[in-house]
Symmetry: C2
Subunit: 364 residues, 2 copies
């Protein structure tokens, strides 16, 4: 922990950081509010112009009938799955072993709803059509995460999505999109959000990943589904008297960054190439399909951290603030490209990777 704080501090002190949108601080909210009239009335428990306008805008963007703003994706997705389970009276849902609901939510789905997961595919690969065809149990719903974050943001191809969608429709299985990073994968697919979402019965998108808002999520679906979601949002205590601080900020950053997803994707591929040229370092996927990827390093975490600390101090370029252990001899970290990458001078970036590459060679 002390080591990680040191790396994080060193990262923050570098002149240029290659990842993210910049510091998550109060200025992020202040900037968004500066353009907003102080007389704009708060939403009130899910009602009011500020929340309804944004929900309508997002429904239209996603090509779904209706949308509802949630304080968090955790809440939105558990509720989506519960509604589909209630509708089918089957309390089993299928998802990837590294699904957010399985590893980051303290088993909320199981403890609050008694919904049991059926895990599809191995941890290190995405769900393919065959995995879905081979499900032996009755399930109410299949959740697909695009991209699969915990394995570096991997994606099935569009034809696979279509085939899975068709199979689910033919077999009465609801298909839910964990689109925490949906905006970020559209350049790879070369489609609109609508062309992805129409394959799904319900869609969640996050507003603080690639968009870089303050917090919040959108859940979209048909009117009956959304009406049920509103009730569950109240049951969860997610129907806050005022959600406008998030909505205003999220809407503002959406307007700034939605058109930049193609650039982030291009930047991610470029940055991955820099990494893959270093001995003992490789990216997953080897060619990114969104603004994110993982970097795997054939060194113990502590040893690689020492190299990074040296590199940050010598080059002023910060690559990451946090490294995670894979084993005694391997470690990895996640990369998400945002507004910061384009500010890094290419020459300085090249020199930084020359430095990293030479250090990696020296320790192999």
């Amino acid at each position: 922990m002390a080591d990680e704080m040191t790396l994080l501090d060193a990262f923050k002190q570098t002149k240029f950081q290659v990842v993210g949108h910049g510091p998550r601080n109060v200025q992020v909210l202040k900037d968004a509010l500066a353009d907003t009239d102080g007389d704009l009335e708060s939403d009130m428990y899910g009602k009011g112009k500020v929340i309804e306008d944004f929900q309508n805008k997002m429904a239209a963007y996603l090509g779904m009938e209706e949308a509802i703003f949630f304080p968090s994706g955790t809440m939105a997705q558990q509720i989506a799955l519960r509604i589909w389970c209630d509708q089918t009276e089957i309390y089993k849902v299928a998802y990837h072993p590294l699904c957010h609901l399985e590893i980051h939510e303290q088993d909320g789905l199981k403890r609050l709803h008694n919904i049991q997961p059926v895990l599809l595919a191995e941890e290190d690969r995405i769900i393919e059509l065959e995995d879905v065809l081979n499900v032996q149990e009755d399930i109410s719903c299949l959740l697909l995460e695009l991209p699969q974050r915990e394995i570096g943001g991997q994606l099935p191809d569009y034809a696979t999505l279509e085939a899975i969608s068709q199979h689910c429709r033919e077999h009465g299985i609801k298909l839910h999109l964990d689109g925490a990073r949906l905006f970020e994968v559209l350049p790879y697919y070369g489609t609109t959000a609508e062309e992805i979402c129409r394959l799904f019965d319900s869609v969640y998108v996050s507003l603080y990943k690639g968009i870089g808002g303050v917090a919040g999520a959108i859940l979209a679906g048909n009117p009956d589904f959304i009406a049920e979601s509103v009730i569950w949002k109240r049951r969860y205590g997610g129907d806050l008297i005022s959600l406008y601080p998030y909505i205003i900020a999220d809407d503002w950053y959406l307007s700034k960054r939605l058109d930049k997803m193609g650039q982030y994707y291009k930047d991610a591929r470029e940055l991955a190439e820099y990494y893959n040229r270093c001995s003992g370092i490789s990216t997953v996927p080897s060619v990114p399909v969104s603004n994110m990827f993982h970097v795997q390093v054939e060194l113990p975490k502590d040893e690689f951290e020492r190299i990074l600390l040296e590199m940050y101090e010598n080059t002023g370029i910060g690559l990451t603030g946090s490294i995670r252990e894979i084993s005694d001899v391997r470690c990895y970290f996640e990369v998400s490209i945002g507004d910061q990458y384009e500010k890094v001078p290419k020459e300085a970036l090249g020199k930084a990777f020359d430095f990293l590459g030479s250090r990696m060679l020296a320790v192999q």
Copy 2:
């Protein structure tokens, strides 16, 4: 609905409103943020200086060992009751028939936790010691709401609280405080928050009622209870990446308004006297014990609304934006005193009530 909008619009257009802190608009947040350094880092999923400092401050103020910030009281209280049920393995809790959990949360407690309520006292009166002594079933927890909002904000006396607390401790029943309006009742009790909270095992306070923050709540208790609460907050999707928009605003308004609760209480008693002088109008309680009370009117809702609309137009004084029907011939509304009351010129207020009184006499 159309009628209510008309009354609400007319109320908003009056020169002076006797209730509330003023419009709930974006300026409320902007004012609070203006004093905050933009470089202050966001909290991150419940960690960080901004959230930890505020939690520590609130724990100290309430005299509880630890405190945790929640996006909503609905979430905080369901979780508190669940923890006490798990600890005692008894999935029944006792509370008032008009408890927030019973009437405003779409049965979240029952649907998410399968916890059954035991309703104490009749709807139109508060829970007394005898009600607690007479509980025939095993319960894990008793929830007391101070003040009991849905009946005008009534309160038991302090000796009753002590006796109920002692009984609960002797019988292994956890005592939870729904202190949505705890700050607001301290002037009546003439005690510190600590002197109330020490009678309870867990305490919830709201930060957007009398304090007038943007949203948010505090749940306080012992370290084991809070450690469990943190896990459940994650399960609910309440562990947002950033809660600072609420925390900063709530803290700012707390600093502005905590010391004004005595004034609000005095103002409420004064305003209640104005109402009680009008024929066919009475307050519940007849003498307020906090900043709030109910106003009951012996007229059909529509008829009383017409009188108010006339009064607002003639006097420029707004009393309420919303009336609720009790029966075909009776209606009521809730009054909460805030910063607005002191801005109303006393002479204009007197004339407005003269107008109301004469109209009420005319229709009796």
